[in-house]
């Protein structure tokens, strides 16, 4: 069971962070956060960028953990597959949440 979770967990974290940031975005647009100005950019953009960074850090930490002696699987197949899905999680977080940095927030 633990071995299966090693394979599934990284992408589960991606799904959670993707949904959470999408929800945050919907909430922010509904509450008009994009109109609150902060240094550099709006409060909303700050919030989104920071949460994106947290999601990326979580994925990075997961990748490190799955490589570490303490959390890695002793089964070579599971170990390699979990690393592959962990890389997939990291790339997915980078790729799918990229609009946080480049798209117009609401409208």
């Amino acid at each position: 069971m633990k071995n299966l979770l090693r394979i599934l967990f990284p992408l589960l974290v991606w799904l959670a962070s993707f949904s959470a940031i999408y929800a945050l975005h919907g909430l922010g647009c509904a509450l008009g956060w994009s109109n609150v100005a902060l240094p550099g950019m709006s409060l909303f953009r700050w919030l989104l960028l920071v949460s994106w960074l947290i999601a990326l850090l979580a994925q990075g930490a997961m990748l490190m953990a799955l490589r570490s002696r303490r959390f890695r699987s002793h089964d070579t197949f599971i170990h390699r597959t979990s690393l592959a899905t962990s890389c997939a999680g990291l790339i997915s977080t980078l790729w799918t949440l990229l609009p946080v940095a480049v798209s117009g927030p609401c409208g």
Binding site: W95, L98, V102, S103, G104, G107
Partner: protein, 185 residues
């Protein structure tokens, strides 16, 4: 986009056919994996898709409505199976299944519905946007030249669906001024 898709299709078809035809020396699995999975599977598809995504994001940004001085706002209210249009520039005036707009000026259409989900679509002016009860969606359209444009409803909405169409009439500056001045053209 179509050309790129065609090229990829020919590449794939060529590779499959070649697998039956070409005589080739045995290669060990590790090397094959590098070529087929890391190279073609991951490298090739990610490069193509990244380019496509960048194009999509940029094109999407360009389509975003911007603030404009000469903006005209109209309202479109859908019901089974008709459209009712109202005009900010001519309060209290309604048209059925015929939308008047000025040509060469950006127009914001505020779309809503009184009964079921419909969709506002004038193929030659813009993409489609749904009319959803309780929500108002705003679509930016702009007609380059005066004339008549065909509009349709593009979300299945019951038995009258195929006949649920409307017309957009784009006027030149004089015609629009006359329309706004309550002299129905």
């Amino acid at each position: 986009m179509l050309i790129g898709a065609g090229l990829i299709l020919f590449l794939m078809a060529g590779l499959v056919i070649a697998a039956f035809r070409v005589r080739r020396p045995a290669v060990d699995d590790a090397r094959s994996e590098k070529v087929w999975i890391l190279g073609l599977g991951l490298g090739f598809s990610m490069a193509v898709l990244a380019a496509l995504l960048a194009y999509g994001l940029v094109a999407g940004e360009r389509l975003m409505p911007r603030a404009a001085a000469d903006l005209v706002r109209v309202e479109a209210e859908a019901r089974q199976w008709a459209w009712r249009f109202a005009y900010d520039d001519r309060p209290g005036y309604f048209t059925e299944n015929l939308l008047h707009i000025p040509a060469g000026r950006p127009v914001d259409v505020a779309i809503t519905s009184t009964d079921v989900v419909h969709s506002f679509w004038v193929p030659r002016l813009a993409g489609k946007l749904d009319a959803i009860p309780g929500h108002v969606n705003v679509l930016r359209i702009e007609a380059d030249a005066p004339g008549t444009y065909r509009g349709v409803t593009a979300e299945y909405n019951g038995e009258g669906y195929s006949r649920h169409v409307f017309t957009v009439e784009a006027h030149d500056a004089a015609g629009w001024a006359a329309f706004v001045a309550e002299e129905t053209p």
